[in-house]
């Protein structure tokens, strides 16, 4: 849990839209393997468009290397668009499930902690709890540190997903060009 998921000079966050076909994930990861790029996290999922998946990749790279990673991704036939959002205003989130050892006497204390982190209980068992938390990596690390003394039995994390702030992102726009969005003005 020591890895820093945050965009820094050492990591870059890419968004890629790819064709939703068998083997595409393998092609992308094979590229990273072959060129020796180290993946910090990788998330793939569907989008609002049929046949199009979206990947968020956090990769160890300086700015120079990042340009080549982007170019290499862009070259792949199944990759529809790529955007390096590291230096763009963006929101990024991880979702984590943590199973904590928690007898009835410890539950109130854990509940209080979770409130601070805006985490939720999603399963209660006589001896354990499953906590769900969404957020940035340092928030997650903070919660993990606080829960560790109670005894963490299992933990699973999605990997970062990210989106640029404001209007439609470059990568999204390349896949499905849309007229400029009209700003929605609150009534």
């Amino acid at each position: 849990m020591s890895t820093n998921f945050f965009p820094s000079p050492q990591t870059h966050t890419f968004i890629a839209y790819v064709e939703d076909q068998p083997g595409v994930l393998n092609r992308v990861t094979s590229l990273f393997r072959r060129r020796g790029y180290n993946i910090v996290s990788l998330n793939v999922g569907r989008t609002n468009q049929d046949g199009v998946s979206r990947m968020t990749m956090v990769v160890e790279a300086d700015d120079d290397k990042a340009v080549r990673i982007e170019a290499n991704l862009y070259k792949m036939v199944n990759v529809l668009s790529v955007e390096d959002i590291t230096h763009k205003s963006n929101v990024s989130r991880d979702l984590v499930l943590i199973k904590v050892k928690a007898g009835p006497e410890k539950r109130p204390e854990i509940l209080q902690l979770c409130e601070v982190f805006r985490a939720r209980f999603i399963d209660v068992h006589p001896e354990t709890l499953i906590v769900e938390v969404t957020g940035t990596q340092d928030k997650i690390e903070g919660l993990v540190a606080m829960l560790a003394p109670f005894g963490i039995l299992e933990m699973v994390q999605t990997g970062t997903i990210a989106m640029t702030r404001g209007g439609k992102g470059e990568a999204a726009d390349a896949v499905n060009p849309a007229p400029n969005l009209k700003p929605i003005v609150a009534a």
Binding site: V18, E19, G23, N26, R27, S30, L31, R34, D64, V67, R68, A71, N72, Y74, K75, M76, V77, N78, V79, L80, S81, V175
Partner: protein, 598 residues
């Protein structure tokens, strides 16, 4: 004598109405629609339905190879010589894996090629069925793209896409793996000749006008500019544009191995090859240059030597089609993305008034004693040096042969001594350095250039890797001339052992069959040459032979390729040719001068 060739004279249809065909027929139909006339392959279980349908396409010539690697190299050689997409075909499993070396070779040198493989029935995929291998998985990193086709209806459109991907942008090999059931099923096939559209594939690149202007400014401001002409010049058919650029500016041109022929070697501004086995004064010029104009090349480690000390005084303009090559090895000041011919045409009108006379004189001066060290300038001392053989071959073929080299010492001697004045007349395995490339590649080139005089130049080691294709030459009536530079060693490895491994010749002495008898065993012609005085007659006899002819040149055994930049050393830190002790020396001169060539 040229092998009989079928020719398809009717124009290619732009589209055809729907026909009901088997998947197997669609394979051939689609190839014919892409303009294919010759395929190189080897049948087997999973591709048998396709082969069975070949009888319906008598105009397509199929060359039966002896090993699938040969098929891949033939398709590659055809492609290099013609600029078109070469096609090879193999069955599943070992047939497909035997293509792998040839595909990787094509990938490294950006050769457009389509490889078609049979695959086990789609219901058997993943079951470790007989002759099943995951060839799309295996070739993922060595193809530009690959496809697994499991439905007959997908075969036609996929082959069309494969050709488009292979030939467009930075070219490369594409593999299409087709299951047996897809070949057997029936489908409606309609050829659509309209441009292929794939949403994720946009190979076109164009430079910004402002960057062109910046390049012009940099060229005009330079005092010591040098052009690097790479493989991209040949691929983009940019020779004429480059000639115009050099005629206007006078800027000297150094070439990469794969760039040879892209700029005339006998042009007064040609510096010849750069890098590990480039002339010392060429590499010195690169280290002294204040501007490098790199055209369609990728700063390979064999070109740059030690990157930390490489061309530190030079600003660098990098004209390149593939954005992933920019700043990969060498940090450049101005990348120009796009087709090198188009970019030269944009630059050419604006580069009047460049004056590099002083710089050219400086380069000329630094040639120094190079000519004295030049082996071809030495009188005949009765010994047969590989350099002599290749130099003489150049003279006796009037520099007009299409030469296909294998990999090793002879390849470097060819690059140094056979002066290519035209593009696509030197085919060689550059990036991958695949021994065994020459003979099959030359056979493929024969179908691209039916009237050329084709010479294979191979070492005794590499030749034996694909020598089985001699049988293919005999069966198919393919005529090439083969010069085996036979020194009884894996020469380049021996040279490295001599220079860098204390002279311990481990696993490099190699015994060969009697190549003359080997040729004769195939019903072909064989000759042996041991004296320089015999070279001319042998070259002429080989040319006159209607059949493929092997000439076994028994050359000096422990000759080395000079000059040489040791791997990873500074570019101007060269091992130079030993100076002859006397003009006619019988002794091999053991002195190497290692160190900066000041």
């Amino acid at each position: 004598m040229v092998a009989p060739l079928h020719s398809i004279t009717e124009p290619q249809p732009t589209s055809t109405g729907p026909k009901t065909l088997t998947g197997s027929q669609v394979i051939w139909e689609a190839l014919v629609n892409e303009g294919v006339e010759t395929v190189f392959g080897y049948p087997g279980g999973a591709i048998m339905p396709a082969y069975d349908a070949l009888t319906d396409y008598p105009h397509l010539r199929h060359i039966l190879v002896r090993h699938e690697q040969g098929a891949a190299h033939m398709a590659d050689g055809f492609s290099r010589a013609s600029g078109k997409v070469g096609v090879c075909i193999a069955t599943s499993g070992p047939g497909a894996t035997n293509l792998v070396t040839g595909i990787a070779n094509a990938m490294m040198d950006s050769i457009p090629m389509v490889a078609i493989t049979g695959q086990v029935g789609s219901h058997l995929i993943g079951s470790d069925a007989f002759q099943e291998v995951d060839i799309t998985g295996i070739t993922l990193p060595i193809t530009k793209h690959n496809f697994l086709v499991t439905k007959a209806a997908d075969i036609g459109p996929t082959i069309r896409k494969a050709f488009y991907i292979a030939a467009s942008g930075r070219p490369g090999p594409v593999l299409v793996d087709i299951t047996k059931d897809a070949q057997q099923a029936t489908t409606e096939y309609r050829y659509d000749g309209s441009p292929v559209r794939m949403p994720g594939y946009r190979p076109e690149k164009h430079p910004l006008p402002s960057d062109i202007a910046r390049a012009v400014d940099m060229i005009k401001a330079a005092k010591r500019p040098i052009v690097f002409a790479g493989h991209g010049i040949i691929k983009a058919n940019a020779t004429a544009a480059l000639l115009e650029f050099v005629q206007k500016t006078g800027i000297p041109v150094a070439q990469t191995l794969l760039g040879l022929g892209g700029f005339p070697a006998t042009h007064e501004r040609s510096l010849g090859m750069m890098g590990m086995h480039g002339e010392a004064w060429v590499n010195k010029a690169i280290q002294e240059a204040d501007l490098i104009i790199a055209l369609g090349m990728r700063f390979d480690d064999r070109v740059t030597g030690n990157l930390k000390t490489y061309a530190l005084d030079a600003k660098k303009i990098h004209v390149e089609l593939d954005p992933a090559e920019i700043n990969k090895n060498v940090k450049v000041d101005l990348p120009l993305l796009g087709d090198v011919r188009e970019i030269l045409r944009l630059i050419n009108p604006h580069v009047d008034g460049v004056d590099v006379k002083e710089w050219v004189a400086q380069i000329e001066h630094s040639k120094g004693d190079s000519a004295v060290r030049e082996i071809t300038n030495l009188p005949d001392n009765g010994k047969l040096f590989a350099a002599h053989v290749i130099h003489d071959l150049w003279r006796y073929t009037n520099g007009k042969a299409l030469v296909v080299t294998d990999v090793g010492q002879h390849q470097m001697w060819e690059a140094q001594y056979y002066k290519h004045d035209h593009p696509r007349k030197l085919l060689t395995s550059g990036g991958a350095g695949t021994m065994g490339f020459a003979l099959p590649a030359a056979m493929g080139a024969r179908f691209a250039c039916p009237d050329d005089q084709i010479w294979v130049i191979a070492g005794d080691g590499g030749f034996q890797m694909t020598a089985c294709e001699l049988a293919t030459c005999a069966q198919e009536g393919i005529k090439v001339n083969i010069a085996i530079i036979n020194n009884g060693y894996l020469g380049m490895v021996r040279q490295w052992q001599q220079f860098f491994y204390g002279g311990r010749y481990v696993a490099t002495p190699i015994k060969s069959p009697d190549f003359v008898k080997l040729a004769e065993a195939h019903g072909l012609k064989g000759l042996r040459v041991t004296q320089r005085s015999e070279v001319k007659a042998a070259v002429e006899a080989a040319q006159a032979s209607p059949d493929t002819c092997i000439v076994d040149f028994r050359v000096e055994q422990e000759d080395s390729v000079y000059p040489m930049v040791p791997a990873g050393a500074d570019l101007d830190n060269m091992i130079r040719r030993p100076k002859p002790v006397s003009p006619v020396s019988d002794e091999h001169n053991p002195i190497f001068e290692i160190g900066k060539d000041k």
